[in-house]
């Protein structure tokens, strides 16, 4: 029942925003609906942490600890993004860049986008999960192109063309997994439910599964933004409106990664850990190297944040490659921490763009002196994202490296640390340029409304609490890691 509510509430708000003309209260209604999702996610987590998974529609929807955790991640970052969407639409309407109708369309698409992501994580059937992930691509294409500039049109085209091909490969991989399941023996029971695939995973044909897992890693990897299929990511994330960038970078990437985690567990059963691990290490390290080399010369702060996502996806790919319970728990904590920090940074960058009118790093100076609240949030967001204590990304990165060393991937962990150091230096120097220095004489200090900064500060505090105490998620993380760990 609760599993259904999670989907119905944001969908209902989407329908409401489609029929009602755009007003501020419609925006707040959408935010409230995602807040309800977050509450339901917590409710689901409490139920499944010690109990059996919650199912609906004969297993089409199925929520275990891992799904419940992802619902919480989507809910948390969704609240931030929809909160800020109200302000984004206000500003666009005031500047005459978009009409009432576009604003309604925007809220409707955002609700559809969140619903599709939720469906992807609560689907018990890997085919339905695929359909939902593909649906996110189609919906977000319009959101990327919402500003209707030449650049955003180009970004939308690249985004949907590359991601559709990627996701098609993932579909072929899914078909091959189904083929292997059909040939296990008792034919009539074969279906695409995750539980039944896991039950027969040790008997799946290894030849077919090898082909399948390679296609799945490449295919879902495209949506995750792992190199070498990452080229759509910086364009789409930098051209999209800030709340959409926050959702795409903070959650959509990791929803696709969630799909990969599920399939990895099946492939581990069929093939042993070696091949899935090798594939994930390869794409993970490549992503880190690509991100490090492109971050060094970045001139645009939204693109900088986008490449930073490529880095973090590389890190979680390495963590998932290790695959132990410790590693998966760290990966999941990293998914939440990265989502919060990246969400905060993209939303702040939207505010900076609104205030300064440029996305060039060189044009933005002395934020801390001129816009203390905004600059402060941006600074702490960067500190969180770079993995410094007390934020949770520090803990998760540390534990991923520990887990990788335990399974003999110490060399990969070492390479990842070198890349992280390079990225640290690059981002610090870009950040220093934007944040520090004295403002021009006579310019008064700009205030940022508390309604903008409050949720962002809240998210950063949450990220810090998770980093220091691991409370209240420790039990859920353990239970969720158990679902897919080797």
């Amino acid at each position: 029942m609760l599993a259904l509510v999670v989907l119905a509430v944001p969908f209902g708000a989407g329908v409401a925003s489609a029929v009602a003309p755009w007003r501020r209260w419609v925006g707040w209604l959408c935010t409230a609906s995602i807040g309800a999702v977050l509450v339901c996610g917590v409710g689901l987590a409490v139920r499944v942490v010690h109990g059996p998974p919650v199912t609906a529609f004969g297993g089409v929807l199925r929520v275990d600890a891992l799904s419940a955790f992802m619902v919480i991640v989507i809910g948390a970052i969704g609240v931030l993004a929809t909160w800020q969407s109200v302000r984004y639409l206000d500003a666009e309407l005031a500047a005459g860049r978009c009409s009432q109708r576009h604003a309604s369309l925007y809220s409707m698409l955002v609700q559809g986008f969140v619903t599709a992501m939720l469906l992807a994580v609560v689907a018990g059937n890997v085919g339905v999960m695929w359909v939902a992930v593909e649906a996110t691509t189609i919906i977000t294409t319009f959101l990327v192109g919402h500003r209707r500039t030449r650049g955003s049109l180009e970004a939308s085209w690249k985004y949907i063309a590359i991601c559709s091909v990627g996701i098609a490969m993932a579909f072929l991989g899914t078909v091959l997994v189904y083929l292997a399941a059909l040939h296990v023996g008792h034919h009539e029971h074969a279906n695409l439910d995750w539980t039944s695939l896991m039950a027969v995973s040790h008997h799946l044909d290894p030849g077919v599964m090898r082909l399948a897992i390679a296609l799945l890693v490449l295919g879902y990897g495209t949506k995750v933004g792992l190199a070498p299929m990452h080229s759509w990511l910086p364009d789409a994330h930098s051209q999209a409106p800030a709340p959409i960038s926050a959702l795409m970078s903070g959650v959509l990437l990791t929803v696709a990664f969630y799909a990969l985690l599920r399939f990895k567990a099946i492939a581990d059963g069929a093939l042993g850990v070696a091949l899935p691990r090798a594939l994930l290490v390869a794409v993970g390290l490549l992503s880190l190297v690509v991100a490090a080399s492109l971050l060094l010369s970045q001139r645009d702060y939204k693109r900088m944040l986008a490449y930073h996502s490529v880095e973090h996806m590389g890190l979680i790919a390495l963590g998932a490659a290790a695959g132990t319970r410790l590693a998966i728990a760290a990966v999941l904590l990293h998914i939440l921490g990265h989502g919060l920090a990246k969400g905060v940074l993209f939303l702040t960058s939207g505010e900076i763009l609104l205030a300064e009118g440029t996305t060039e790093i060189a044009q933005v100076k002395a934020l801390l002196a001129r816009r203390p609240a905004l600059g402060g949030v941006f600074a702490f967001g960067l500190v969180a994202l770079l993995g410094l204590p007390p934020f949770s990304l520090f803990v998760s990165e540390l534990n991923m490296v520990r887990a990788e060393t335990q399974v003999g991937l110490g060399w990969a962990a070492a390479i990842s640390l070198v890349c992280m150091a390079v990225i640290f230096g690059a981002v610090m120097s870009h950040g220093r340029h934007m944040l520090f220095g004295a403002g021009p004489d006579g310019e008064q200090v700009h205030k940022t409304p508390a309604i903008v900064t409050a949720p962002l500060i809240g998210a950063l505090i949450g990220c810090a609490i998770l980093g220091v105490l691991a409370w209240p998620l420790a039990g859920l993380l353990r239970a969720a890691a158990q679902v897919v760990a080797t």
């Binding site: 695929w130 949907i160 040939h183």
Partner: protein
């Protein structure tokens, strides 16, 4: 349907799908390419129909009709309108010329036979032997997305990829479960609609449908 007739019609229809994929590389006139795509859609529906009749599977027969309607009629019509509105609807300067593309298609077909060994080994039936044709179609689709520069050509490439996968799914597993099949078809249809809308916006903004115009976002 008796044995030999079943096998030969299935082989014929699967062969038509691959030939249509090659035709999209060979012909530079976009209206001819869209026609080839429509024929491919019908052949794909026919494959599902033959398998459905053979296995007395009513669901598969329904799916076959849906495939023919969407891939044989709706999608080609959508693309045909764009082509008709663009007077210079020829692939003027493909990155790889036509003879080289055809050699590439042959190489990709060999590659498909190599890569699908484990799949063919698992299903020792007529349908199983034809799975490499689906993979070859898919690879040709990728190839055409990479080497062609017209917006429409890229959409065609994506559809070739999709048809190839659908052929593999029909031949190897007699179609995925209905719910997934419907969802997947709807997603593909929507993706094509979205791409077509974007192409129309590009047309109104740039006056051409050439992807070489898209070079604003660089590092």
């Amino acid at each position: 349907m008796n044995g030999p007739a079943y096998a030969s019609t299935l082989e014929l229809m699967s062969g038509v799908i691959l030939v249509c994929a090659v035709v999209t590389l060979w012909r530079r006139s976009l209206s001819a390419v869209v026609k080839a795509l429509a024929i491919q859609g019908f052949a794909l529906g026919a494959v599902a129909l033959i398998l459905g009749i053979r296995q007395h599977d009513a669901v598969l027969i329904v799916v076959a009709c849906l495939v023919m309607a969407s891939k044989g009629v709706v999608i080609p019509t959508l693309l045909g309108r764009v082509v008709a509105s663009d007077p210079s609807s020829r692939e003027a300067t493909p990155i790889v010329n036509v003879p080289a593309s055809l050699v590439g298609a042959a190489a990709l077909t060999f590659l498909a036979y190599g890569a699908t060994q484990p799949v063919v080994a698992l299903i020792p039936t007529t349908a199983g032997r034809l799975v490499p044709l689906g993979f070859a179609t898919l690879l040709i689709g990728f190839f055409s997305m990479v080497v062609r520069r017209k917006a429409i050509s890229q959409i065609v490439g994506l559809l070739l990829v999709d048809n190839g996968i659908a052929l593999v799914a029909f031949l190897a597993t007699a179609g995925v479960p209905l719910l997934v099949e419907l969802g997947a078809s709807l997603d593909v249809l929507l993706a094509v609609v979205v791409l077509r809308v974007l192409a129309a916006q590009m047309w109104s903004k740039f006056g051409v449908l050439d992807l070489d115009q898209l070079r604003e976002l660089r590092d």
